[in-house]
Subunit: 368 residues, 2 copies
Amino acid sequence: MSPRYTRLVDTLPATVPFVGPETQERARGAAFEARLGANENGFGPSPRAIEAMAKASGDQWMYGDPENHDLKQALALRLGVTPAHLIVGEGIDGLLGYLVRLLIEPGDAVVTSEGAYPTFNYHVAGFGGVLHKVPYLGDHEDPTALMHRAREVEAKLVYLANPDNPMGSWHGAEVIRGAIEQVPAGTLLALDEAYVEFAPEGTAPEIDPDDERVIRLRTFSKGYGLAGARVGYAVGAPGLIAAFDKVRNHFGMNRAAQIGALAALADEGHLAQTIAQVVAARARLNAIAAENGLRALPSATNFVTIDCGRDGDFARRVLAGVVKRGVFIRMPFVAPHDRCIRVSAGPEAQLAAFARVLPEALAEARQG
Amino acid sequence: MSPRYTRLVDTLPATVPFVGPETQERARGAAFEARLGANENGFGPSPRAIEAMAKASGDQWMYGDPENHDLKQALALRLGVTPAHLIVGEGIDGLLGYLVRLLIEPGDAVVTSEGAYPTFNYHVAGFGGVLHKVPYLGDHEDPTALMHRAREVEAKLVYLANPDNPMGSWHGAEVIRGAIEQVPAGTLLALDEAYVEFAPEGTAPEIDPDDERVIRLRTFSKGYGLAGARVGYAVGAPGLIAAFDKVRNHFGMNRAAQIGALAALADEGHLAQTIAQVVAARARLNAIAAENGLRALPSATNFVTIDCGRDGDFARRVLAGVVKRGVFIRMPFVAPHDRCIRVSAGPEAQLAAFARVLPEALAEARQG
């Protein structure tokens, strides 16, 4: 006799939000030449972080500090908040899981954008929430529509990424401030700022850390180049932050990752250098797109979304052609954004590989 | 206005299953001289694992493989099962959280032993399960009583650790086999074998990996000395294993930890050496107990539970005296086991520190 799963679990598919590049490599029987599909930061973490993690490897017999004390102290100082406003967790993915669990029970309404981050949707479905999706306005998430729908369905939670993934678009701080003012009573805004380090000055709004209407989520995976370490954090009102202690895996953080994130945070020079490298890589990707007669969308992230100029089937053929030639990239899942492919910023050798295979993939796709 | 939490979350305390040693160090304003409280493995991981993790530090810009393919292949080979029988996760704690989430909704019955692993209880409470506890039989968990109670309350899940924490006791394979035969229809046995590498031959039973009545949980935290890395795994029937994909954090594993666990698993010589060191350390702890007129309980783990010979208040005074002298140890939470303190096996310098402070702590405790 099978175990008796919950009624909810019985209804859930065994979905995987993303297929990893390693899975694709095993399927194709060869490693990728370039890894530009998961918005990892190929410029790598701070050498100080690498050294700190390497040194911490010998101490991995000890559990990590369940309070993440040192990292929270450093983040508090950097952000001008107190440690009581901060929760550290296993990446934004892990924190989103805890957040959804705190708020959502079967039937509760949640609002996001059609085509936005699938892992958020995965968590909402996983706790039985009912997702209401609003369309993007062009290539931007539409904060006004999100808040309107949140009011309409009395959503407990609304998700907004700024900058956005997968489109790379962004809103200035004033638009986000305006959205926060429109958050309905009883709704919490999850503001995903995973890519904010790459955005222009004036993208991240000032938010009163005691504001109970919003929780902002950030990560060491993108700007700090530590995706494999799994370190994210969130800033919110102390009551909400304290609630994470009711459900989180207190001893869930990797000890070397805690130490590496702390070292990465301290290396402001490396972050600045990374941002400059990403800016240059975006320009290079723009040029590659232009050389192929394609339009690169403006980006405030470490990836560039390239409009292939036709429909989703065409872009999927382009993607397949790029991937089969050894360059791992991804693309938006839903129309009309699936006219695009999405390519991460990375070192020149990786971008050159993309530049080499794109014309072939396009020619092949045009043959239908 | 505060966020609208679920009805369940509103009832949950912001409990922490354990207070970490770092928290205690911050409170006392000094580092511990010896760290013997969390059953960490002070003999450390395999040098090969340390080297592999150190080397992987520079690659932490990449996410880990969400399928944990390589580690599952190696574990499958070692255990004589297929990868479809294996789930890898963020320590046993993380896997227990997923398992409880898969099975337990508010009101569902769960059975464990009074005084057994608190983090399991934390997860059960966190998903609204109703815990039914049966007493130990002396210093052993009582499989017969557990299964009897599971049948009585129609439990969806029953927890049994073998060897046991916090008592260090164990049952031979035949007793566990017998318990599995007694698992009621519709109940799943979570068999926590975190410490099994330290147990005598014949402790871990042969279990048909397709047996739907049981899931066995293991970890790299204890025998392999990688507590800080957060790598656990479970062996179960493929249907149950596949269900984890419905709820787990697919990209939740630290990449260097995956690589380190793989290297640790391959170093059988180091594991054998660790076990020998733990056996010697247990003997040393037995001797320290005897020198102080105390009785050490037999142990099949990397810790020794020492009967202080009086009641819980007395043992708590002993514990406080040891801790305030710079030696981190813990003790069982509930009577009658709280007559004991629990000391992890570790290198001689750490045990010597314990040996030095124990007589003083005992003398102080006897003064009341």
